[in-house]
Subunit: 236 residues, 2 copies
């Protein structure tokens, strides 16, 4: 019985990976780099996007796909920014899905004008567990971890911290008012993912937003190099 259950889960992930590859091929064809942005609820994904997309990104054309269980609050916030925003709700089914999967993203592709984009940021559902388990066709994964959540989160949600190449440590403006030890967080993070890049920043004060902006621009450049490599490999 247990063995059967594992097989079902593996099949579901395999189907997801197949669709993720199809998404990736579509993104490649249009020259779009995709960043999967994840975090716990309320860590500040949308606020960090509002901040960094308030100004043009050095000629990089950005679009946002907003994943939420229900509602369009985040998409509405970003709609004032003059970047294209598409809302994707996971709320059909029983209580709503707690993550985006490749097929949900695929269903949103027709609404995205991929030909006009260089960079697509997909804001996942707020959750530190399941979003890390589902590839959606992205080039890079980034996560937001707020200092108000405590230093232990890399140890409690290791898959998420391991899956991401960038950890945005948000709300550092609150550090003077918290008993939070940034070194302890970094120590725990180095334990589960020594290669992660870490950017302490604050969506509220703007501290560190320039480095978040630089990272997005360089992600688009790395995405372009990855596409070139995949094209060359396909020719061999």
């Amino acid at each position: 019985m247990h063995r059967t259950r594992v097989r079902v889960v593996e099949d579901a992930l395999d189907a997801n990976n197949t669709i993720a590859r199809a998404n990736r091929e579509d993104f490649d064809r249009h020259g779009v780099t995709v960043v999967n942005l994840m975090s716990a609820p309320g860590a500040g994904k949308t606020s960090l996007l509002e901040r960094v997309l308030a100004e043009p990104l050095d000629g990089v054309q950005v679009g946002v796909l907003e994943g939420d269980v229900q509602g369009s609050l985040d998409a509405d916030r970003l709609a004032t920014l003059h970047v294209p925003v598409v809302q994707l709700n996971t709320g059909s089914g029983f209580g709503g899905e707690c993550h985006l999967d490749a097929n949900m993203v695929r269903s949103a592709l027709p609404a995205l004008r991929l030909a006009e984009l260089d960079l697509l940021v997909i804001e996942n559902v707020g959750n530190l567990v399941c979003p890390a388990e589902f590839r959606i066709g992205e080039d890079a994964r980034a996560m937001v971890c707020s200092v108000t959540e405590g230093e232990d989160k890399p140890l409690k949600y290791p898959l998420m911290f391991r899956a991401c190449e960038l950890v945005l440590v948000n709300k550092v403006d609150l550090l003077p008012h918290l008993e939070f030890d940034l070194d302890k967080l970094l120590h725990h993070l180095s334990h589960v993912n020594p290669d992660a890049e870490v950017l302490p920043l604050s969506a509220r004060t703007g501290e560190g937003i320039d480095r978040w902006r630089d990272w997005l621009i360089s992600a688009a450049e790395r995405g372009e190099r990855g596409r070139r490599r995949r094209r060359e490999e396909a020719l061999v």
Copy 2:
């Protein structure tokens, strides 16, 4: 295909409800009231338990079941409190389950000395989506919502806020340092769950902990009345 998928989900929930009822019968037999405590990661479930269980609860014997994807950090924190704590990890399977279900709780029952308890608090996995979908045999559901998470959470995760009869609004000591409008949160909450009881409090300063303590004591009393009612109904 879609219809098949829905049926599978319904079957899974139906099996869960069957096991939840079996858990409930075991809790009833031992006179134990069970509170399912939920929140986003880092909202302060463990800190609020540390605070409220630092002193005996007016003769109410409390135990804690700690749900985590991985590790025993929270159980270790609570182990200093002289209340029995059992750790339940959901990390087997692929990336770990993002919630407790009735069968996981059932697997922990042999480790819980139910005969010695009046009140069992089950700390669920940090997640605002799936834990609300799975009954585990509890009498009452409570959630923690931190003021650092923003006012919009009841609208974005309505099932969770609707499922709980108590909303603990934690970290109010940080209010002077945030742009957070408590009235706005209460307005959104009243939209999705007008009957919810709301307790603003702070695990850090201890503000409001007396009311959290009173609520737990009265939950044990309500649980006892519920068990009596169920016994009488069974005799009719």
